[in-house]
Symmetry: C2
Subunit: 350 residues, 2 copies
């Protein structure tokens, strides 16, 4: 009970001070690379450090007011490759800057999100990254008021002064639909994502805009509201193909739902793209690897994570003066094999 958490050796600054025959403040200054240290002293200290295997206690450091070199990352869950890609970008940037990453998952429970935000802001982290945040309004003020550094990822900001990174969702969906229209499709279905997400709404809007711009009237019957998961892609495509006048092409709001649509098409004995063209969104790694390779809108996911991290770090380290703002990274159409001209189709409803 006495030495409960002191089971393992605990070399402190004082131990190495004793070993090197100097005061502990000198040791601290050696560690922090102060000028005005006699080279000989410095060497004695570093020698003692390696000898005793000294590792700084981060908690003590942070307590006196220093940085913890930790950044908090708040995500819903690990269930999608989409998140994985973003996290990979974040992780790289974080590692480069020699920070550590603290992971918080809400498991999609709303309450946890705001709870986390306050405790992170007061707790271990120097800054906070949030992917696809939900109740932003709940804590945005708190955060701003406390001056706590944060950057939102894939949050569609309404004003320009909230630090956030996202992709050109509207434009991306516009391009997807326009691509199909260009191929000759006039009757295009749309499988939306979870509409509480800003990006889902933006993508739907892009689809609508493309239709209108090309003189095609929007039909709400051709829109199925999914939730970004594969099963809803299946359900959506299935519903769309059951219509009296089914579409000849389908835009899915993300790749995973596009894969679900693949299944639905296959389950009806139809083929992609000959019978139904399908376009996804995201360009997750699997998009290139499924059969047929998926035509999709590439979102620079890793890049988004990376940029957000860099923005956050510049805020934390105050390396930059101007206020951080809202950045949109460009999407890009990646034409693979899942969409073709409807004229090529062996039209199954004669």
């Amino acid at each position: 009970m006495k030495n409960r958490s002191r089971k393992f050796s605990n070399v402190t600054i004082k131990d190495i001070a004793r070993e090197a025959g100097v005061s502990y403040s000198t040791v601290s200054r050696v560690i922090n690379n102060f000028e005005y240290i006699k080279p000989e002293t410095r060497e004695r200290v570093t020698d003692a450090m390696t000898e005793l295997g000294y590792v700084a206690n981060q908690h003590a450091r942070r307590l006196v007011g220093g940085r913890s070199q930790v950044i908090g990352l708040l995500i819903h869950a690990f269930d999608s490759p989409y998140i994985g890609q973003i996290v990979q970008g974040i992780d790289e940037a974080v590692a480069e800057a020699e920070y550590d990453l603290m992971l918080y998952t809400t498991h999609r429970r709303k309450t946890r999100e705001s709870t986390f935000v306050v405790s992170i802001a007061r707790g271990l982290a120097d800054g906070l990254l949030m992917v696809l945040p939900r109740d932003v309004d709940t804590y945005l003020d708190t955060l701003n008021q406390q001056g706590f550094p944060f950057v939102l990822i894939d949050y569609v900001a309404t004003s320009n002064d909230v630090p956030a990174v996202s992709a050109t969702n509207r434009q991306g969906a516009y391009d997807a639909a326009a691509h199909l229209i260009e191929l000759g499709h006039r009757h295009i279905g749309f499988i939306a994502g979870d509409m509480v997400a800003d990006s889902a709404r933006e993508r739907l809007q892009g689809y609508k805009d493309a239709l209108v711009d090309n003189g095609i009237s929007f039909e709400s019957a051709l829109v199925y509201e999914g939730d970004f998961f594969q099963s809803s892609g299946f359900a959506g495509a299935d519903a769309l193909l059951s219509l009296d006048a089914p579409p000849t092409a389908i835009c899915a709001s993300n790749d995973v739902m596009a894969f679900g649509a693949y299944e639905a098409v296959r389950s009806r004995g139809l083929r992609t793209p000959q019978d139904i063209s399908i376009v996804g969104f995201d360009d997750i790694p699997q998009a290139a690897q499924v059969h047929p390779p998926l035509t999709t809108i590439r979102q620079p996911l890793q890049e988004m994570g990376r940029l957000a991290t860099q923005m956050l770090l510049s805020w934390i380290e105050e390396t930059v003066e101007e206020q951080l703002g809202y950045v949109q990274l460009p999407t890009e159409l990646v034409a693979r094999d899942s969409a073709c001209s409807p004229t090529e189709s062996v039209f199954y409803r004669s």
Copy 2:
């Protein structure tokens, strides 16, 4: 410069002591649920806490010797769904226990692994989880000697007293090969994983054992050494199919390489499973979603993460007396559509 990191309000235990008209130690006791607190006092304190929005400073807590409620997780990278699944299991168990998760990625650089291990052990975390660790011998002693809690995941222990969780890799591969043999295959290729990984070696062994047990002689020409990535699955299958006597079936050491093999088969104008049967390993979510759905060996990845976390927590919290050991979770054959009897094949080499 003065209040550099004190930009945001910082309510301490003393502030709420003043507010509630008690001493700060009383506040601390309220926070830590001590008995012997007058209910009325307790209430005054909790009221003050909510009023002032108190959040405990974890660093100070940890400094006096308490737990940080943080567990460290060391992985290579985020690049595979395999890792994602394990992390999901870990994350769930960690969240349940109300711990936080600190993430360290080595990006496959060996040096970083041991560096991390020492700094984590001395730093923020109460315990350490490592997925697919490499140079375990380098730091196993240090860890043990310091009595620092840790559990390895997907590390094949040679002795039983190292706390580790893995799956029955040998048996799994054995089952995969046996399944193909049972279907009638006699000429079976094997795409191995990165042989520095214990699991890769175990799987190869299982394949060999199944062959021998069924009176089939092992041919090293039928083994291709891959690296667990998709491209090596492609290369492996391609090499195998280029042999003078190509196999009628291929066992891949993980699902991702099996997908690569799919591509190789397809690129030669052949079909899975009619021309070539393919079996994977892991049963990552995509395995059920590719076409054809992949016959594979299910590893309980989430379960492994979960169990390892629970073991670690029981060590940290000393809720269990006996020494933690090596646990192997059972694998299971999941027969889908990518393997069939070779007699059904339209045999392409007449």
